[in-house]
Symmetry: C2
Subunit: 289 residues, 2 copies
């Protein structure tokens, strides 16, 4: 998915959020923002939005020397995710269809996203769970189950910290030997890193790799050889979140996207209402974008 | 008032609105936006926000050759204003305090602003009138009346097209011989020009001048000598709208600002809630900023 004009004010808003998070020095803040505007003056709309997000945060890191501005937020997200885990496990234990319930919960977990909404609360997570448990996904969950049964190598590409606990309960319902779980290679926003997967104990369930990259999505040409090998080898991709949708829709693979459509541009691209939980298949040779 | 960091996403949103209004050619749109970002990469936060607005729209005009992108909107605003005129006149005719009512209506008229809200409707204007008629301005309206009585030369600096009809009913309650009514010198957003003052018949009531400039506010050093003479000569300024507040708060003059606080940055600067109607005096030698 390419950059749309409506992404531009949002890039500036995100940049502002990032610089404010890192420094209260007003003159440093504006220095960084000036550099970001210079970067945006070279913007190519055929790129995917996370490439711009990556550029923004590279500048912020370079100027401030702060490599992980979202570490405190990630700690809070991990705490929130952990707090919800017993509830998630209970919902699955009580469910007549544990697989379906775990899919719904994994999608609900994608509400946790500080790139889009830095004011998210636990009540918002509660609401997202409630809504996603009732949402009509049509036949998509059955189709997802069937695709998993038929696949031999599944690459599960994670998104945000906090979701790790929601992904965990889904992974427990999947054929874990087939699955590799991939996180980002370097800090970017509140995206999950290897240590976050470990905090939720995901490394005890499945093989965890990182993609070697610092984009808030999966820009294949920038990823490590190891990640690319896993991606190419996989006959099914599970891609969580907007960043992975933005970078992988249009890539010729069998992909199930699981996300909450949090931004109007993405919702329009998918063809759904903003705020909708999404389970969307992009079949190989049948591209979305 | 200087540029705040929160103005930056709004500049981009305004730019986007302007380029979309002028052309549907996506590659031209992004060319203009790239130039705007280059301009913003040199931004000086000590400038007032309308200086950036001016720069944005100068680029848009230069690239597209369209000198007045808001002409249709201004026509609509004039039509809306004209439609409301009988109602405004009726409210004043029925009022026990026609002066006070006309002041309230002139403030309510400042809701008409496509720089801030391009989706404004007639129902919004109705609501603004209703709210402003009931709003508690404390003793400010009496103080305003007293200042007008004492002044010898009053410069009334206009803001948006559509407001001309709301200003007209106030002007009719004022000592018109003392008053000069000033509009912008060149097209900028939906700001009023001489022809708009004339459409409302304001030139039949008071002397109308323009400021010779294309900023969405009053950047004194850029204004014509004639405007500056009038400004210096005036012992009381009536300044309508946010753009005039942004550029004149901090200028050492006796000024009554009349506006609706439509943006969070300005509301915070004034110390009021967003959406509030404002009648605020900045006395000479007692600066706001």
């Amino acid at each position: 998915m390419r950059i749309y004009l409506d992404c531009l004010p949002c890039f500036v808003r995100q940049s502002l959020d990032a610089v404010r998070r890192i420094t209260v020095d007003n003159s440093l803040q504006i220095d960084i923002l000036r550099m970001l505007f210079a970067e945006m003056s070279k913007i190519d709309l055929n790129q995917s939005p996370p490439l711009m997000g990556q550029a923004i945060h590279r500048i912020v890191r370079k100027v401030t020397g702060v490599t992980d501005a979202y570490i405190e937020i990630k700690n809070r997200c991990n705490q929130a995710g952990k707090k919800f885990l017993p509830k998630l496990e209970e919902l699955i234990a009580q469910s007549q269809n544990p697989f379906e319930t775990s899919v719904r919960l994994a999608i609900a977990g994608n509400i946790i996203d500080f790139g889009v909404n830095s004011d998210m609360t636990e009540a918002d997570i509660e609401k997202a769970i409630e809504r996603t448990m009732k949402f009509d996904f049509g036949n998509n969950i059955n189709e997802f189950k069937e695709a998993i049964t038929q696949a031999n190598n599944i690459l599960y590409i994670a998104d945000n910290t906090g979701e790790n606990f929601f992904d965990k309960v889904l992974l427990e319902q999947l054929p874990m030997k087939k699955i590799t779980y991939a996180v980002r290679g370097k800090p970017i926003l509140n995206d999950m890193l290897t240590e976050d997967a470990e905090i939720a104990g995901i490394d005890k369930l499945v093989r965890v790799i990182d993609n070697g990259n610092d984009a808030p999505g999966t820009i294949l040409e920038q990823c490590s050889e190891r990640f690319k090998d896993e991606f190419n080898k996989a006959d099914l991709i599970i891609a969580k979140g907007q960043g992975n949708y933005e970078t992988l829709s249009g890539v010729d693979k069998d992909i199930f996207f699981m996300l909450k459509a949090k931004c109007p541009v993405i919702a329009k691209h998918i063809g759904c209402e903003i705020g909708t939980p999404v389970l969307l298949r992009q079949k190989q040779n049948v591209l979305i974008d």
